[in-house]
Symmetry: C2
Subunit: 500 residues, 2 copies
């Protein structure tokens, strides 16, 4: 028994090393690599993916899992080795269920589609993408068919990012949220609008990065175990438990884009830094789901970074670094960074409307996979929902249903739910932490965020992927995932900001 566990750990440690190596190659590609390197980099990453996949699906790995599973099933939930075995079985199951011919067909299709999208989107050319989208829907259905006992075709896709979530459970959560969110957005947008012009200026990019590094360091990001670089799209990447890097971008006219991207990525990074070091190099050493990961980034970005206590400490520093802000009061600035402004683009959305964008995509994906919506009717369905949920008329496809890379560079379905689950959970976690640490925001005022970080370390981070998302939420907040803390937070915050 022990021997099988040791061997299984060895094999999957090699697989983990290959996956982390791919992450290094990807980080390099997006931050450092000269243009010339792209072709070979693609080939190198394909080789690593192939070897990693072979290690996981091999008969040897399957046999080791079969040998050790009866033992793992008798262990208490807290046993990390048992959790490792269960996770190994789950991951292998995801891979062996899908024939390699389908995998190749998908890879080839998504690569072609991504190239087509980069050309068609600027030209607003839905017609060019339509046959490719039809094929994507077909492939997602075929993919889904590889998994038995799924209630909904999208359930098979969701399990990759958010294990334990189903279309049914997400729909219930989301419809409840939407029913309260749409009226709140309407009330806010009919109120007097906030003037956010104070955010516009001319901000040296290097100075922006320096300020963001100060903020990151103060929140607990350890530059001896990470670094901050520029890339086209901000991201966080774990290269090991002691090498977790973040990136951002800097827009000269508005430093908040850079700043909130950094705080967001710091939230992701603190999660990875906080995972128990005994798991390093193991398949359990990583965030447990897309939703839980996003709860960490959004908690720091919105609950901390857009709040008054945070700015009580940082606004004088911001003003010192950027004299532009000397002529604006702190309260004026805080109102500006929390302005609600329903728009067409998800990634630019404010905190309040963001989830409406996500839920539109989630619902449309479901309908496409169910067959209750045809690709042909997608633009109309999209535009109708933007009208009903956000009260705006989508002017064109590129700012409409062609905007997200998710549908044009990978599997269609199952990639969006985590964004909204993360927002909901961020409030639930912040609420719990605040209840247990009633004075934590007083510490923020003096630049000390360590209590909140320590609470998250203990209750979320340390577990890595050793506890399922559902159980982790229950253990840390003593309740199931619920929209109530989130809606309470949003109502109170925006009622006050907009004097509703």
């Amino acid at each position: 028994m022990n021997q099988a566990l040791v061997l299984l750990k060895e094999r999957l440690a090699m697989m983990t090393d290959l996956n982390l190596t791919s992450s290094i190659l990807n980080w390099d590609q997006t931050t450092m690599m000269p243009d010339g390197g792209s072709d070979s980099r693609g080939r190198q990453m394909a080789t690593l993916a192939k070897l990693s996949h072979s290690l996981l699906v091999s008969e040897e790995t399957g046999e080791l899992i079969r040998q050790i599973t009866p033992w793992a099933q008798t262990q208490p939930q807290e046993n990390m080795d048992a959790a490792f075995v269960h996770e190994a079985a789950r991951l292998r199951n995801l891979e062996v269920n899908v024939p390699s011919s389908l995998n190749s067909e998908m890879t080839e299709h998504y690569s072609r589609m991504y190239t087509a999208w980069t050309i068609a989107r600027p030209n607003d050319d839905f017609a060019a993408l339509k046959p490719l989208l039809v094929k994507s829907v077909e492939l997602s259905k075929k993919f889904s068919d590889c998994f038995k006992n799924m209630d909904h075709p999208m359930d098979a896709l969701i399990q990759y990012a958010d294990f334990g979530v189903t279309v049914k459970s997400a729909k219930q959560l989301f419809s409840e949220l939407r029913s309260q969110l749409v009226p709140l957005v309407k009330r806010v947008t009919s109120a007097n609008q906030i003037d956010s012009s104070c955010l516009q200026g001319d901000f040296d990019e290097t100075a922006q990065l320096e300020f963001c590094k100060t903020v990151a360091r103060q929140l607990g990001y350890d530059f001896n175990r990470g670094r901050l670089d520029l890339s086209a799209h901000p991201f966080m990447t774990r290269l090991s438990g002691n090498d977790v890097r973040i990136t951002t971008r800097a827009i000269r006219t508005d430093l908040t884009d850079c700043l909130f991207s950094v705080i967001h990525e710091v939230g992701h990074a603190l999660y990875e830094f906080g995972i128990n070091p005994v798991l390093d190099g193991n398949i359990l050493a990583g965030g447990v789901s897309s939703g839980v990961h996003e709860s960490q980034s959004r908690l720091w970005e919105n609950h901390v970074g857009r709040g008054k206590p945070f700015w009580d400490y940082f606004y004088p520093i911001l003003q010192k670094n950027f004299p532009h802000f000397e002529k604006f009061s702190q309260s004026h600035f805080i109102r500006a960074i929390n302005k609600v402004d329903p728009g067409f683009i998800r990634v630019d959305a404010d905190e309040l409307t963001y989830n409406l964008h996500v839920m539109i995509r989630f619902d449309l994906e479901c309908q496409l996979l169910e067959g209750t919506l045809s690709v042909r009717d997608l633009p109309d369905a999209w535009n109708a929902r933007y009208k009903s949920d956000l009260g705006i008329s989508v002017p064109n496809m590129k700012n409409g249903c062609l905007q997200d890379v998710h549908w044009f560079g990978g599997r269609l379905g199952g990639a969006f739910q985590g964004y909204t689950i993360g927002n909901i959970l961020s409030a639930q976690l912040y609420d719990t932490a605040h209840h247990i640490l009633p004075n934590m925001e007083q510490d923020f005022v003096i630049g000390d965020f360590s209590k909140l970080k320590a609470w998250l370390n203990t209750n979320i981070h340390q577990w890595g992927a050793s506890i399922s998302p559902d159980r982790l939420i229950k253990l840390s907040t003593h309740q199931d995932l619920s929209i109530h803390p989130y809606m309470t937070y949003l109502s109170e915050k925006y009622s006050s900001l907009y004097n509703l």
Copy 2:
């Protein structure tokens, strides 16, 4: 037959991808990685090395090579596929001959020894390293014993870096060189010394890098296919045929360290850039030997970068970038950068004395492996040679026989000969190119180095490792490797500089 070739290429392309991936990890480690990443990085690199090794030594690879070799043997030398098969067989042979238990023992020993060296060297503590060196000699002998039909125990080690070179051939070449070099060094050092104090100043590091980038670009280094970064020790690394990166370091008080490091690494990089793109991702896509690689770096560093035509173009630019040099004439500067100054440290040595350092190490390695020198007597033998060859008394061990990482971080033996072979070959190649392109130096004066680069592309670079070093030298210079062009170059250059 064709099928076996295709399969062999596929397998070794995967191995090459793993090796290039290791290079990316190594580049990242030395330029970008935060301190925290080192432990996991070591483990990740070990995993990649293990998988690469398995692909090469596997029975499948052996069987494919056996199937295809009879065909390859009937092909003309120019056939790239046949060259690929021969190189695959040679590389596999190197690996399968060595039992994995010995490989592990060596890896473990060198890792321990390197750590011990970093502590013992600053303390001048030869005693602490002596037993470890004894073990290194033993391991090198054991390693050598794995190979049959070798005339000298070091031949087995040399073939890894400089295939085709033997102790016998190198000794013959080196003794001839030494017999002419030692008297020349004596004549130069008894002449009036050059005043190089003009090189001392205060040079902003960023400005140094900018100037070096200008030089690199002008020499033909393509920044769309590479980048220049800082690292503790300058190096070049090929990550693909279109991603060849170089590093340097910058010393505030003397910009020539940074500058000549960059020109040196550019020489290595131009070699890699120039390899025929059809070889990319193949085991033949790389420099053919340590000696030929070093010939490229030294050709650009010394024959071009320390010459008058180069500075006719660059000295005004240097003066504009660093007004410090306005008060010194170009000829004064050129004399300073070519000053001969026999010292203790190889890596700081001038062009003339550098080879004496190398040959001392080569001869002592040979004697250690032959058993004609014991580790106990190494310091005395070292010091005696520094007295006889360079005319200086070594003051301590740390600037003596403990100085080079080569003996304390890897296999003892076979790593030094390439440095001197490279110097010898650089002159032979430059001479040939100059003969064919008599006006090339007139182009240097106007900043055009393209003719020389094109000649090297055609005659050296494009072939990668598809032609053996010996044959490559013969094809490009129409003679075997010879010290005459090199000694003529050195005699003329230093006789003129020192008015001998």
